[in-house]
């Protein structure tokens, strides 16, 4: 694990030395503050729309950071040939993959923390309440989702040839699952065979990322989710993360580096 954490440290350093995160954070902050500056119908206690806009921007930013960061890890190492001096050290390819995953995931976690602190400040300033427990829960679930996304994108980076292709396909898959994943069973019911079986298979096979999107619960101040459910969701995410990482390792270990 020492090697994996060493690689993770490099990934985190890369993230905070690149400009992407800062640009996205500033953009999120500016748009949210601009939206919050409007006084609608002389009522400054309206807050839910602001929470929704802020959370939407946070979600978009986090997905951009996670997908673009993860997509370029392994291809950049090969393209820039930094993988050679690295793998000439006593480090396995599995440790490298694990390190890249940990680095991307931890980096995303740090970015998320900052985003959610900002969100908390903005919503607290308006609502004059601060449901810390609910926000922490939302942050945790969001972070679990990013673990699955990062693992998926790392898998894509060893399967697909170009970074841009991986980024595009990953975005489509992730956004598609978030929007439609929950409803595929309803769609399947309206189809005939064999399409119904295909859609049902997809429905059961895909990682249901929508489990981790609890924005509606936060926006509408609904009660927190029982911890047993959160733990189960965490386990579900961990399974898919492990599956994607294992598949990545299976492919990467046999790949020629030159």
């Amino acid at each position: 694990m020492n090697n994996a954490f060493a690689v993770a440290g490099i990934v985190i350093k890369e993230m905070y030395r690149r400009k992407d995160f800062y640009v996205l954070f500033i953009l999120t902050a500016l748009i949210t503050l601009a939206m919050g500056s409007f006084k609608l119908f002389n009522d400054d206690r309206i807050v839910r729309y602001l929470k929704e806009i802020c959370l939407l921007l946070i979600w978009i930013s986090s997905l951009v950071i996670a997908i673009t960061t993860a997509a370029r890890q392994l291809p950049a190492e090969k393209e820039l040939r930094t993988i050679f001096p690295l793998l000439a050290k006593p480090i396995t390819r599995g440790q490298l993959i694990l390190g890249k995953f940990l680095g991307c995931w931890l980096a995303c976690g740090m970015a998320l923390l900052l985003f959610y602190v900002f969100f908390g400040i903005i919503s607290g300033a308006r609502e004059h309440q601060f449901p810390v427990f609910n926000y922490l829960q939302a942050l945790w679930l969001h972070w679990i989702l990013l673990a699955v996304v990062v693992a998926l994108v790392l898998f894509g980076s060893v399967v697909l040839s170009a970074v841009s292709v991986n980024v595009t396909i990953s975005f489509i898959v992730v956004v598609g699952i978030l929007f439609v994943g929950r409803h595929l069973n309803k769609v399947a019911l309206q189809l005939t065979e064999p399409a119904q079986s295909i859609v049902y298979s997809i429905y059961f096979a895909i990682p249901h990322l929508e489990f981790y999107d609890v924005r509606d619960l936060i926006i509408h101040d609904l009660p927190a989710i029982p911890w047993k459910i959160v733990i189960l969701a965490g386990g579900y995410g961990a399974c898919y993360t492990g599956l994607f990482l294992f598949a990545t390792w299976l492919i990467f270990r046999r790949k020629a580096l030159n």
Binding site: L40, F41, D43, I46, F204, H208
Partner: protein, 306 residues
Amino acid sequence: MASPALILGLLFALCLSLGSALGSWFQGWSGGRNQSANVLNALIGDSRRMFANHFFAKADAYFHSGYYPTIFDSQKREEESHLAGGHEPAGEEGELHQHDENCKHDESDEPGHQHDASCNHDDSEEASFLGKPKDWIDRFSRNFYPVHHSHLEKGGERELLPWLRVSAELDPQRVETYTIAAYWLRSRLGKVKEAEQFLREGLRANPGSCEIYFELGRIHAEDLKEPAMARNLWEIALRKWAAQEKAGEKPDGFVFQEITGNLAKLALNENDFEQAIYYLKFLKQKSPTPDRIEAQIQELELKLKK
């Protein structure tokens, strides 16, 4: 070799000339969108209506604290939407109260029934648009989004306003947005002035709207206590309604009933039975219960004779 600056200058001059020449052609070609003073209209054209519908539905979703059918539940969508159902009774006459036909709650026999959070909604899974969970994934996912029917109340209705505002910006011709927003502003949030302002904005975009005139009249009657102004506005509303009918636009009969019913009620409050009978006769033409209206007319005629 010509200097780069000269080449750049020539290219720039060429671009300007082409722009001027094409501009006049474009003015006539684009179907009027570019004529619009509205930035949104110029940018996205008629698709703004689609966005306006989306934000209107968003307001409804907010009213239900996120519990809302998606396009995959579209069959149930109309049944569940009752953002527009917040009509208060006009008085003791049951005919002046209308439930929104989309309400799914038990209709009370009491004439003073209000559609609010205390409505007895059946929000069991079987009755809702969600239905019973179809599989373990469906069951598990219900922990992560709103699954209980509720309404915003006690000032929480303010959360609808931004979406109604945006919807109105995108589609100023959608009258319902103004009337619904005005209802929530004045009746639940105590913002009468803002309600009136918003309705007047709507009136500027829809000068022929009887619904907006009617709502303005309600503000003056119920909140500002200005019956004379209310009467004027309702009479204008009635004329607008008639004009729409004459033009073949088939205006909403329910609005006609509301206008005439309220005018009749106003007249009754002022003990002007003749005027009340006049308006009740109008009401009878469109009422689903003309016999009861007739009974009321006869009762008033008796009073008049006395």
